[in-house]
Amino acid sequence: MLKREMERQQMANQRMVELAMLESRVMNNGDLTITQVNDSIERGGRMGELKTEKHVKYILSVEKRKDDYVSVVMEHLRLNGAYWGLTTLDILGKLDAVDEDEVVSWVMQCQHESGGFGGNTGHDPHVLYTLSAIQVLALFDKIEVLDIEKVSNYIAGLQNEDGSFSGDMWGEIDTRFSYIAICSLALLHRLDKINVERAVKYILSCQNLDGGFGCTPGAESHAGQIFCCVGALAITGSLHHVDKDLLGWWLCERQVKSGGLNGRPEKLPDVCYSWWVLSSLIMIDRVNWIDKEKLVKFILDCQDKENGGISDRPDDAVDVFHTFFGVAGLSHLEYPGLKAIDPAYALPVDIGQHTTPNPSWHHFGSAGLWPTQFCLGRPSETCSIFPAHIQRYRAALARKTKNMVAGGLTAFVFGLYFYTMRSVGGTNELQTGQHTTPNPSWHHFGSAGLWPTQICLGRPSETCSVFPAHIQIRTVPNQGCRASIPEILNPGVDIVQFSITQTEIFNYK
């Protein structure tokens, strides 16, 4: 840690010297061009970049370590560690660096005869590790190796009379376990095994006067618990019970001066809250209420740029837990080059099928997976599974799987056209694809035809859950395909690469 401190200091000093020299040259000679000054500033800015290769190396090294102190102390939760490490690798596009068969085989060895999973081989079962097992298998698309009946019975058996969930046979109750049970069973398509209504009722009994949630009724609102409760409510289609404005405000107040997020009032910021808070905000469609750029900078400052890994706050020791949440947070913040991650399931969005029994949610067609059809949700309740930038990402994936006609604007237009066409099942009428809202100040799809007649512009302060600000294109209504696309939008480039911020190019009127 001291070494990092010294290195940082050295770099900072070097920077100061550079800037001082630049300044004196400008002052004395005026012989610097704007380009040179800008280059220097940019170099400084580039110090804040995600060291992907280093993080991959770090994670792989942790995976290999089995005998050092840290590994021994963490031995009982290795399955959690596997989930954190592997999901990070997947987000970074490097999941193929591990031996899939070896991992899957080891995961299955952690299963107990009760159907639940322990944290490592030979450990007692607990829902904490059961969820991680399911998630790891989902990463490799290997859920089918499970005896799904057995696992889901184990989980369902832990629901109590009042709707709460115990972590295991020893009876500890916590809303974390409600989330775990619901997330697990949803991934296994077995939500019908529990009493969802009572589960929701219990979660709501943990809602506090500040709009947040605690571990049990009356417990203090805490960002981690909030993530669990909001995630569970999202998956069960019960987000309408949440006071999103009140909670959104509480969540955005977690951002402190440094740009980082804390978990409760007057506590220190911690990178892991980049996940808990951010995911919650995305699920309730209020993520624009924080300063995203400052948060990106905070997370990047928490990297160990030499050895890889991310720590809870700048200059502390790194660990896999914070590495995952830091990278996942950056994914939510649309940092370029990262796979999009689902805020409710905490898995990359290109994982398997997403179904839900709740009829008010759009759901995957039973025939196949993405890109057959995907969930648009109701605009006033952002589909927790596919918020704005994830939908863009999925649109990009969809375009890749179809053979698009080459060519700039055409490709983009067609892409968007097919995207919307597919979402309405290929008809000219807007049915499931229609984005309507009772609020008349929202623009909405015209009922006569699709793009390019008119598309939803939404209000910039509330990201339209279907077409967020930076892919919205102004059209001249009813005059067909006339679009003005700002130069910065490069047609043909994957939408996922865009990183235009909310500071708008268009004027919405």
Binding site: V72, V73, M74, E75, H76, L77, G118, G119, G122, H123, D124, H126, D168, W170, E172, N208, L209, D210, G214, C215, T216, G218, A219, E220, S221, H222, G248, W249, W250, C252, E253, Q255, K257, G259, R264, P265, E266, K267, N288, W289, I290, D291, K294, R459, S461, E462, Q502
Partner: protein
Amino acid sequence: MDYFRAVYLADERSPRALKLTTEAIHLNAGNYTVWQFRRLILETLHVDLHDELDFVGELARDNTKNYQIWHHRRWVAEKLGTNATSKELEFTQEIFSEDAKNYHAWSHRQWVLQTLGGWEDELEYCDKLLRDDIFNNSAWNQRYFVVTRSPVLGGLEAMRDSEVAYAIKAILAKPENESPWRYLRGLYKDDMQSLVKDPRVASVCLDVLMNKRDCVHALNMVLDLLCHGYEPSKTLENAIDALCLDSGVSDSGLTERVCSVLQVVDRMRTNYWKWRKSVVPV
């Protein structure tokens, strides 16, 4: 650990097995499988659980954020029943003297109160903690917990008046403190009209703004009041206008002006204040 594994697989519930779990726990207090086996042994051997409380207490002091330790403590306390009440309250107090916001300890304490009792001095204890650190959000949460759930107090209705006074006193002491502002709102939850009508609320906003013109919490409360029909005094309007002058704000309505000012003084949350402006009732 190999020895532990051996007795665990053999399901040996003997004193030596108990000792082994002690060793294993000292090696890694997070190993939940060891804790679970220990519980099985304790049950079988009918060990005096008061000793167990001491054992867990010692461990907890060094590992205050370990889930397994707290869960084990709760299991033991539940077995001991009301014999453990004062000990548990004392124990959590001890933890709070080092870390007054420890989430596990607060969860445990709330469980103790609800399961075993001991409410009598709880409000007083909250007050003590807040006198130590008025920014302690956990203590504010506990205060609400006590006010609403304690069987020895009158409930929220009866206590609201005095609690409002308490919150206001805290606000005046440290206006930048998030917690009492939220607490105040919470006291009037689902009854915003009463919040608007309570002259103390508007008054504290004005008092704070007179001393600290750009206090975000005060401005936010003023905004809430205005949105719910509060008629501002001339003094308040003047205070806002002075702020507007400084911030270069010039919207037409007072409520909109407050939002614009907030966009400037709380720049990090500018999108939130922008949204507040967009939903100002006409």
